[in-house]
Symmetry: C2
Subunit: 369 residues, 2 copies
Amino acid sequence: MTAQPAKKLLVLPGDGIGPEVMREVTRIITWLEEKRGLSFDITEDLVGGASLAEYGEPIRDEVIEKARAADAVLFGSVGDPRWNHVGFDKRPELAILKLRQELALFANLRPAKVFDALVDASTLKPDVVRGLDIMIVRETVGGIYFGNPRGIETLPDGSKRGINTEVYTTSEIERVARVAFDLARKRSGRVCSVEKCNVMESGLLWKEVVTDLHAREYKDVELSHMLADNCAMQLVRNPRQFDVIVTGNLFGDILSDLASMLTGSLGMLPSATLGAADSHGKLPALYEPIHGSAPDIAGQGIANPIAQILSFAMLLRYSFNMQDEGQLIEDAVSNVLESGLRTADIMSDGKTRVSTSVMGDAILGELDK
Amino acid sequence: MTAQPAKKLLVLPGDGIGPEVMREVTRIITWLEEKRGLSFDITEDLVGGASLAEYGEPIRDEVIEKARAADAVLFGSVGDPRWNHVGFDKRPELAILKLRQELALFANLRPAKVFDALVDASTLKPDVVRGLDIMIVRETVGGIYFGNPRGIETLPDGSKRGINTEVYTTSEIERVARVAFDLARKRSGRVCSVEKCNVMESGLLWKEVVTDLHAREYKDVELSHMLADNCAMQLVRNPRQFDVIVTGNLFGDILSDLASMLTGSLGMLPSATLGAADSHGKLPALYEPIHGSAPDIAGQGIANPIAQILSFAMLLRYSFNMQDEGQLIEDAVSNVLESGLRTADIMSDGKTRVSTSVMGDAILGELDK
Ligand SMILES: CC(C)[C@H](C(=O)O)[C@@H](O)C(=O)O
Ligand SMILES: CC(C)[C@H](C(=O)O)[C@@H](O)C(=O)O
């Protein structure tokens, strides 16, 4: 029993497979409360298409406030093709975009790691990906996602013009580069900064700011620079050349998805999106799986719950400083994989195919050992 | 002998390995003139770092005018790290950007094709890439590469702000989509249009315009839509699902490089960038290998000349309507690969490693047969 007040956790399952995989996390939370004497102050709410259906908006201000008040947010996934034609201000995706921006969650940490037991799940040759362990640090509250002017205007002849603006300032670049350098110090000590400085001035500024910060404060870290198109190629050619990659919002979106697909097991990969600690040391933080809402398999009970479970383990470690419990969960997941159980997405010859809930059962069973 | 005037060809070798691989093309041109009675009106000039060194600018107006006057441009590659720190208006890359824009070369056709003899050169499993044949149609004169406002400004506190603007209009999207649909009709009849419509209004307009054009004129072609991040993943997961991909300038830059790296033989892939035919039926066109200037191996005589040679074959077919000669060259390349010769980039066990010029000799030898 701990004397600290129960940690406040906001749970936002979202759309598609979100609720299914989140259910397995709540079973683990119950286990932690019953068997480890922990207690969490949990609130759950709707976001994305689920919130649009109920409240007519992808996320309510009330939910943003709950997120601000929480010690951490555990997010599922948003996106639902049924809302494809409803207009730009009614996209389910606005839920995650607003959370990132309102809470100033500027650094998205996306690991691309190959689990030894799953090396064959990759479409890449085992020799190319065995032992792969990249961390992509993606800026998430700036760039072309949020810059103004933006919109679609009608021209005099009736045709249209779509506009978006990429903006990055010195301070926006510096704070996310700092996260990357700090992480590299705890890893293999190498950062690769990625932009298109040969075409975009915002990329040129990106490169300059990262170079300056490195010279001033991080000379012990090895820094390299790469163009985004080359980075996409190098991730396919020889992904193990990378340790930490730091890049802007749009390139990060594409390159981190690419990197995670190299592992062949998207259903395994968690992520964290972090803000800046306030004067009381409180760090705004949101954890979510890398995979999306996967509407094509939603409701069938076959989704892989592991990315969501590992996102929760990451939350326990980073936000609640519960290292032991994080480790327990990560070990349980490893052991279940070693024992040969697989959900459909990571299935291979000779393994046992199981449903979402049987995978959850097995992980709980391991925790009980 | 033909009664037509000799076709005007502008040859721009550029930087790095550009001149080395272009040399092998000029030997083939000589062969065509001597052995097939063809005659070409050839001009050669400097671009990129080579032009910066000689004239202080990456491309002279005079060269743009020569390109405009030519029946086709054969381009090598530009980019030279020695010019990295010289300022945004002195980048070697401006040579290709200006050529694209001044000649309104709006559609870049980039095939990603796996040669049977080279299936093992890919880092992907043979089963995933065998028979791969994708055509990426990338818009090349619009989007964030050319939009205004752009630049780096200094803020009152001395920090900086980098800005770029993504702009697409209905007509810019329509003309490149038309190229993609027309190509699909000659291939497997499928187009996948790629954007980030869940985040960018310019992407939303892109999707709408492609959808409308399809409904009006191309119902016989199968059209699908994909987000750019998902497309990067799908290219790794199952690249053979694609036939023609059409996308904007920036996404096209990244995704086409990614797609070509899937083949494992970047040194093999040609590309064409086309404009709109004028009232005399003259089509502005530039041909270049997909690979860049590869400064790390320049001057060693080990670069693969095949992408440059196949770019020339593509030029003969598309711009000069010399189908037989195009075919001759393509067959010669195939036969040389079948015979087991390989440059370093596509080397594998049991094959014979050869230099740039020996590869050129072998292709000429095949032509002579
Ligand atoms: C849902 C979508 C808006 C989002 C993004 O593009 O950032 C997603 O792709 C991600 O990477 O988290
Ligand atoms: C050289 C560079 C400006 C260019 C681009 O980004 O378009 C290159 O990467 C390409 O794809 O042709």
